[in-house]
């Protein structure tokens, strides 16, 4: 047998542009996880969420103002800028 004509490629390649349907997959994943969280509340009413219910009390008295919602957005923005710098500088 010969390898000629095989469809296999020897190098790893990836598309340069992001397919539009990939964002649909991510959205589907987020919706699914939220649905399962709701389902947990329906199936086990009155029970605390595992892990999450243990973590949340740690932040009591810390994020008790609406400003933190906005500041978290700003922090995300700062990390987005740092991330952009790192990924752009290291890509290709």
């Amino acid at each position: 047998m010969s390898d000629q004509g095989s469809s296999q490629i020897t190098e790893f390649i990836q598309g340069e542009k992001e397919p539009q349907s990939s964002s649909v997959v991510i959205a589907l994943g987020v919706v699914a996880s939220l649905s399962f969280l709701l389902l947990y509340g329906i199936l086990y009413p009155g029970r605390e969420m595992p892990v999450v219910s243990e973590l949340l009390p740690m932040f009591e008295g810390v994020f008790d103002s609406g400003i933190w919602f906005f500041l978290l957005g700003a922090m995300l923005g700062i990390f987005a800028i740092i991330g952009t710098m790192l990924t752009e500088a290291t890509s290709e």
């Binding site: 008295g61 810390v62 994020f63 008790d64 103002s65 609406g66 400003i67 933190w68 906005f70 500041l71 957005g73 700003a74 923005g77 700062i78 987005a80 800028i81 952009t84 710098m85 752009e88 500088a89 890509s91």
Partner: protein, 554 residues
């Protein structure tokens, strides 16, 4: 005793002497002085100068990039300050880390970051490109200008820290930050003066606006110290507004007039109006800014005094502030007409900075008139309008100075880096977020201020709930500037790596745009544009015959 006229007389004299020295040089000491300055800018710094690259445009690029980052930090600090004005305990949990800021401290830090970090760095950065271009030469020392951008950023960082805690370990932090900033400013001034001394052609007036803006800053401080007015409230108020009228107004006017012409492709509308802008800015007192000169007082390490002006000072100060409307209107109208040129439209998708400059020029006149009333009231000692002074100061900062400097930076940055921003649409979204957030958010806050003033006047005992609601609305709307500045930063950074190259754009635009369009029958403008025609394409009517055709002879 009069403080304003003697101080301004010294300032005008120093400006005239500086201009004469710049034009005539230092006679036989010229070459020695140039060599010495060049040595101080490069060799004297030792190995430090080797840490930065000296490629053409690198200094301008570094300053603008630092300015963009500061714009984002300034917007976050100002947003938090606005929020804490209606919810003072919102950040109390940070007290566990030893940080318990109040609204005033955050606003003060935001003003330092916005004025000297964002606006100052973007104007100096753009000036490092504009002055050499207008002089027909290269910047004297790219390496030094790049290096001192770090020093300037460090000074702004110290000022922001000093806004929270003025004294740390017995050291006056704000004075330390100012000292570092003066050092960086002197290096930039010497660099620019050396650049114009090598000019191969006469410099257009926007170039002089930038130069006078730079030297006006230290000369304003020297004038106040020479006149002895630094210890009085009027003298401190005056130096604050002199720095605003020279470094900020002249600097922004110079770089934005250049960018408006280059970005729109239209020639600068009026040379006379630029002359009026320069001359008017130097002889008048710019009314924009706060009525409280504490920023200048803290930076110069002075003892704060109450503004108690004499009748002569009140009259001369009010007159000179009213006179400032001439350069303001001249500059604004010149910029707006230059952006439009012969067309009715301003939109130019290829120049993301155009919209910002357009907005800043529109907002300048009403805010300058508003500031004139507030300042005249404060100088007279009445203080009836002092309640809106701080928000009006923020409005002039975020709706005038920031858009004008940001718009210029967005035009200049691709010129010095060789690549455009990554996405024009993201740039447009950032513009709407920043301008909408600043104008709407601060307008709501001014409405709350006016409500408070009315309640104080009517001696109401209980605060109105609508004031708090307006302050909440104002701070939440102002968050748009945070988002807009983040969008601008990511767009600019990504554009550096993946943005369209400027040289590619020129080639493609010429091949896609037909020079002539033959019009054979009636058609719509949409169809002509859809065929690839631009506004410069010539439409040529081609006559047709209604006679029946015949077979083509071979």
């Amino acid at each position: 005793m009069s403080e304003i006229i003697p101080t301004l007389a010294i300032f005008w004299l120093l400006m005239v002497v500086s201009f004469i020295l710049m034009k005539r040089g230092l006679s036989i000491f010229n070459d020695v002085a140039k060599g010495m300055v060049m040595f101080m800018l490069e060799k004297a710094l030792g190995p430090a100068i080797d840490f930065v690259q000296g490629k053409p445009g690198s200094a301008s690029r570094t300053w603008i990039m630092h300015g963009m980052i500061w714009a984002m930090l300034a917007s976050i600090l100002t947003f938090a300050g606005l929020w804490l004005s209606h919810d003072p305990t919102a950040l109390h949990s940070l007290g566990a880390w030893g940080y318990s800021p109040d609204s005033h401290e955050l606003m003060y830090a935001g003003r330092f970051a916005a004025l000297f970090g964002a606006v100052g760095m973007m104007v100096i950065g753009a000036g490092l490109h504009v002055v050499p271009t207008l002089s027909g030469t290269n910047l004297a020392s790219e390496s030094n200008a790049t290096l001192v951008s770090g020093l300037w950023t460090l000074s702004v960082l110290i000022l922001v820290i000093g806004a929270h805690s003025k004294e740390i370990l017995g050291v006056d932090i704000i004075v330390l930050g100012t000292a570092l900033q003066i050092l960086a400013m002197m290096a930039i001034i010497l660099n620019q003066l050396l650049t114009i001394s090598n000019a191969t052609r006469s410099i257009a007036i926007p170039g002089w606006l930038i130069i006078f803006g730079l030297i006006g800053n230290p000369l304003a401080v020297v004038s106040v110290f020479l006149s002895g007015a630094y210890g009085t409230g009027v003298g401190q108020w005056l130096v604050y507004h002199m720095i605003g009228g020279t470094f900020f107004f002249c600097g922004i006017a110079g770089v934005s007039l250049y960018a408006s012409s280059m970005g729109s492709g239209n020639p600068l509308w009026s040379r006379t109006l630029v002359g009026f802008t320069l001359f008017g800015a130097l002889i008048s007192i710019n009314p924009m800014g706060s009525t409280d000169p504490s920023m200048a007082v803290d930076m110069l390490g002075l003892e704060a005094s109450e503004i108690s002006s004499s009748t002569q000072d009140h009259i001369s100060g009010s007159f000179l502030m009213a006179l400032a409307m001439i350069p303001v209107i001249a500059y604004s109208s010149n910029l707006l007409v230059t952006l439009r040129g012969k067309d009715a439209f301003v939109e130019n998708a290829d120049s993301p900075g155009i919209a910002e400059m357009n907005m800043g020029a529109w907002m300048l006149i009403p805010i300058a008139i508003g500031s004139l009333f507030v300042q005249t009231d404060a100088l007279g000692g009445a203080g009836e309008l002092s309640g809106i002074s701080q928000t009006l100061d923020l409005l002039s900062l975020w709706a005038v100075l920031m858009p004008l400097s940001l718009g210029t930076a967005l035009y200049v940055f691709p010129q010095v880096s060789g690549r455009k921003v990554l996405s024009v649409s993201r740039s447009r979204a950032a513009f709407w977020l920043m301008s909408g957030g600043a104008v709407a958010g601060l307008t709501f806050t001014i409405m709350a201020d006016l409500n408070d003033m009315a309640l104080i006047e009517s001696l109401a005992e209980n605060p109105s709930s609508i004031t708090e609601e307006l302050r909440i609305l104002g701070s939440v709307t102002f968050y748009g500037t945070v988002l807009g500045s983040i969008f601008h930063c990511t767009n600019l950074i990504s554009g550096q790596f993946r943005g369209e190259k400027l040289s590619e754009e020129v080639e493609s635009s010429t091949s896609l745009s037909p020079h002539a369009y033959e019009l054979t029958s009636s058609t719509s403008v949409r169809r002509i544009l859809a065929s690839g025609a631009t506004l410069d394409t010539e439409v040529i009517p081609v006559s047709q015959s209604e006679e029946a055709g015949s077979a083509t002879e071979l």
